[in-house]
């Protein structure tokens, strides 16, 4: 007799078979005529420059780190939540069990919440907007040249 998890395994196998079947079926049906242009990486119609090893905002790492902390918290709270309100345990200890369990969890959560508050106060959760940097050019031509020229050769406005 299959256990419940055996049936779950069967389910996953069915999903695998379904995906594999569709991929194979598609492979049999579709044309396959690759050219060099088709196989280039898309970069808005330009020739791609380098590969995808680009710099990105390091804040993503910080978010991932804080997430790992909170995920550990969640993993611990899942079993805690199931035994927290059990009437038999509460009855055995004369109501003490629930308050004890709640205090314990609150202490645990508060420590993690302090971590969140720390990251928050340090500004690790803020996403600053990029300030557009205007290019500066060392030149003797004044920036208001165009306005001056326009001013000088201004046509008299027709009434």
């Amino acid at each position: 007799m299959l256990s419940q998890f055996g049936i779950m395994f069967l389910f996953i196998l069915t999903a695998f078979a379904f995906i594999g079947g569709i991929l194979l079926f598609g492979k049999l049906l579709r044309p396959d005529r690759p050219t060099e242009e088709k196989l280039t990486t898309y970069e808005s119609g330009e020739e791609p420059v380098g590969n995808a090893g680009v710099q990105f905002n390091p804040r993503f790492y910080v978010v991932a780190l804080v997430f790992v902390l909170f995920d550990v918290e969640l993993v611990l709270l899942f079993p805690w939540a199931t035994v927290f309100g059990q009437p038999t345990l509460i009855a055995e200890t004369g109501g003490l069990w629930g308050w004890f369990a709640l205090t314990e969890a609150v202490v645990f959560v508060v420590i993690l919440a302090l971590g969140l508050a720390y990251a928050w106060a340090k500004g690790y959760l803020d996403w600053e907007k990029p300030q557009p940097q205007l290019p500066t050019v060392a030149t003797k031509v004044p920036t208001t040249l165009y306005e001056q020229v326009n001013e000088r050769y201004k046509r008299p406005t027709t009434p």
Partner: protein, 386 residues
Amino acid sequence: MELTVLVIKSLVILAVFGITLLIATYSTYAERKVAAFLQDRIGPNRAGPFGLLQPIADAGKMFFKEDFIPAQANKWLFILGPCLAMLTALMSSAVIPFGDSIRYGSFEVPVQGIDVNVGVLYVFGVVSLGVYGVMIGGWASNNKFSLLGAIRAASQNISYEVALGLSIIAILMMTGSLSLRHIVNEQNGFFQWNVFTQPLGFVIFLTCAFAECNRTPFDLPECETELVGGYHTEYSSMKLGFYLFAEYINMFTSSAIISTLYFGGFQYPFMHQVHDALVDSLGSTVGHNIATGIGTAVLFGKIFFFIFFFMWVRWTIPRFRFDQLMNLGWKTLIPLSILNVVLTGAGLLFDKFKYATWLIVIVMIIMAATNAIKAPRRKPVTVPQL
């Protein structure tokens, strides 16, 4: 006997698969029709009556399109990405209880893929795996847009997963079980539905469900204006189809989970009276089965409502900016859900009072009202007469 059970279970698994895929297929059609309705258009109406064959035409197109793997891409991970996304989407519907049970002779088969005692944990685990599909696909493409989209998607999914889990924990504390069937059975009676006992948890869960499905207003991973197509820029043919289809399957699954966790699943008001009346008039087998059928129909009604809600929101609310998204996740939803858990626990221990979290809701409503009163009035704009 051994074989019979296996055959029945296989049939149930196939049925769950079939229903999931069918609903996901027709969600694409429904999405286009709802979009058309909201934008005062007609929508698909060429393939078949009312355009009903449109999803099949789309699938055919996906099959016949040429598929190419970019020369710079990591070939096997490129194929693995969409397969993982699809796999995790398909797996999560296994544990949803679709109905009470079907009696057949001496058998009593529950209308559920697998009645496992860690259902919630299973769904949560599978949902967390979903981020791998996007991340691997986006990384393996070796395209800058794809990489940025994938990083955004991963960071968004993990941020909202925490609040999602914390809002589930508040429910688990009230039921004391991880089995979804047990959670549904706890909610017998209209005002026992978790949406009434956990109003704040419901709102948090709904928001996080939107974010986990990458649906508007949280569809930053694939926002066309900045990232071309996001993580699936390089994908074509059936692999692209997997990514797009996984989104609709996720939408169905999360609608089903929302209905199960917060709206009583297959329960409806006066269910026991209807069940008893049917059993009295039609006998304990037929009557029970018909009552189960009504419950399943009610559950699907709730699911369809939530799928419609997903689409309704998509065409109503504009997309968030990335910093707004992160602020909402980390600075609003997570502290609120922690508060929700603590207050639920305190309420439960204090005389088993289940409606404690209404306190937060009331405080929030009062704060919003005072803010609205204090906010500076906008002066009426006078239109100059031409």
